[in-house]
Symmetry: C2
Subunit: 247 residues, 2 copies
């Protein structure tokens, strides 16, 4: 059964999409079968996988019951576009609206080692669907004041999803992302984060570098574009695998 | 009748909340009566206005018809918290769901010069409500690849709101925010933005500075915390007032 990880934060721009794309790449290089799911109507993850804009079916079709997940996989990802926002609105009125993605991924979970779900920067129905479909939740935050406020809120929703619909959901941890630890504000925020959440916070912080934005523009992973920069992600992946109890 | 401006971007972390908070401050210092509305369940704007966490009623109550907008104004802002996400889900099933905020702000528009609405980083029902309630849309983007992709999508939704529900809605412009123009990637992205959207892009870019995150932590505006840094916002406000045809 696949380890299914939702990457989320209510705060926008905390590096979620980059985290999913890069983890998929590193885990793939370690020989694991990885499926990525773009659950954000922005479609940044799909873009980052260089999915053709007209690729079909997409996650919207899967959630509306018009396609099987297996038919919506294009080059290692189930893509999304703005139509996913319409699908989310339509889903809001359906019975079982929160378990739709979980049911859709049932078969895929048998043929992959890891499934990574990129969430939108809200705690709405798409994120809830991702959490209900997942075994683990991975929070991504920046070391800035507003982001840290968002960690508490995201933890609340993870607990809500666990207590109501998915008792097996565990917190995998909290990643400090796009970190510029040269500023006092960032260092103080990191201290506050570790004080408040202790061991849940990964020891590896992902440092800030313009190379990530450059790599996204080229639809290349950081390992393909600037391997030297990828050290942080290699170390983070090691920590993640240890927490999952995988060799 | 108040000029009502929605500040939006589908991309997360593009400086929307900081833009609304700072514009409210500068316009207030110029003698205008300004109301801010927090339409984001994260509640960052409410936090930035130092609204007490238990302030009530909030925007959620107004949208559910349980309070008048006038009763939900606390220290210059109609605040929000996570309950707004529940209100959004409940709103999805109501008749007239897209015009709810417009109707709720009808009286307030007569007693303020400017109303600024901080949108969440999605193009869902809350953002659509804000656009339908507005006379102008202000897009905030960073000069990074994913953000620029989001500008096209946000423009689509602005046009959709105008064509279907709010014919008076105009694009006020596109602000380049959190700009670090020392990198080639940022300079190239800015060039691409100006090429694609021409005069819609404000001449003033808001430069990146850690002082903004520090000011948010202290619930002080940038003018209160680091007036020297506020030059960009003073110049942007000048451009905005010119576009609005105000002295
Ligand atoms: N470690 C990093 N250092 C610097 N820039 C980064 C880093 N990781 C990602 N970025 C860039 O920062 C921006 C935000 O990252 P990304 O889009 O992955 O965040 P997100 O949380 O998915 O955003 P959203 O909330 O809009 O979905 C992007 O332009 C990305 O290229
Ligand atoms: N000009 C700037 N330079 C550097 N940092 C900034 C600037 N403006 C805002 N920030 C900081 O960047 C982060 C993102 O800004 P902000 O929260 O205003 O964006 P947002 O678009 O409202 O995010 P969200 O999509 O989550 O609502 C915050 O930590 C904020 O303090
Ligand atoms: Mg993303
Ligand atoms: Mg915001």
């Amino acid at each position: 059964m696949a380890t299914t990880i939702s990457v989320l934060s209510q705060k926008g721009g905390t590096g979620k999409t980059t985290l999913v794309r890069t983890l998929a790449d590193v885990l793939g290089r370690l020989g694991l079968d990885v499926l990525a799911v773009d659950a954000d109507p922005q479609g940044n993850l799909s873009d980052y996988f260089d999915t053709p804009p007209d690729a079909s079916p997409t996650l919207a079709d899967v959630l509306m019951g018009e396609a099987r997940a297996a038919d919506a996989i294009h080059g290692g990802v189930i893509p999304a576009n703005l139509r996913l926002a319409e699908a989310e609105l339509a889903l809001a009125g359906k019975i079982g609206r929160e378990v739709t993605l979980r049911n859709a991924l049932r078969d895929a979970k048998r043929s992959y080692d890891v499934i990574l779900i990129d969430c939108p920067p809200t705690l709405g129905l798409l994120t809830v669907n991702a959490l209900v479909a997942s075994s683990h939740a991975l929070l991504s935050t920046q070391s800035q004041y507003f982001s840290l406020q968002g960690v508490e809120q995201a933890m609340e929703v993870v607990e809500l999803a666990r207590d109501s619909l998915n008792p097996d959901l565990e917190l995998l941890g909290i990643v400090l992302n796009i970190a510029n630890l040269r500023t006092k504000h960032a260092r103080q925020s990191l201290e506050a984060l570790r004080e408040r959440f202790g061991d849940a916070v990964f020891r590896t912080a992902i440092r800030q570098s313009v190379a990530y934005a450059e790599s996204a523009e080229r639809a290349q992973t950081i390992l393909e574009y600037r391997p030297a920069r990828a050290v942080d992600y290699l170390s983070l992946t090691g920590e993640i695998l240890r927490r999952l109890g995988r060799p």
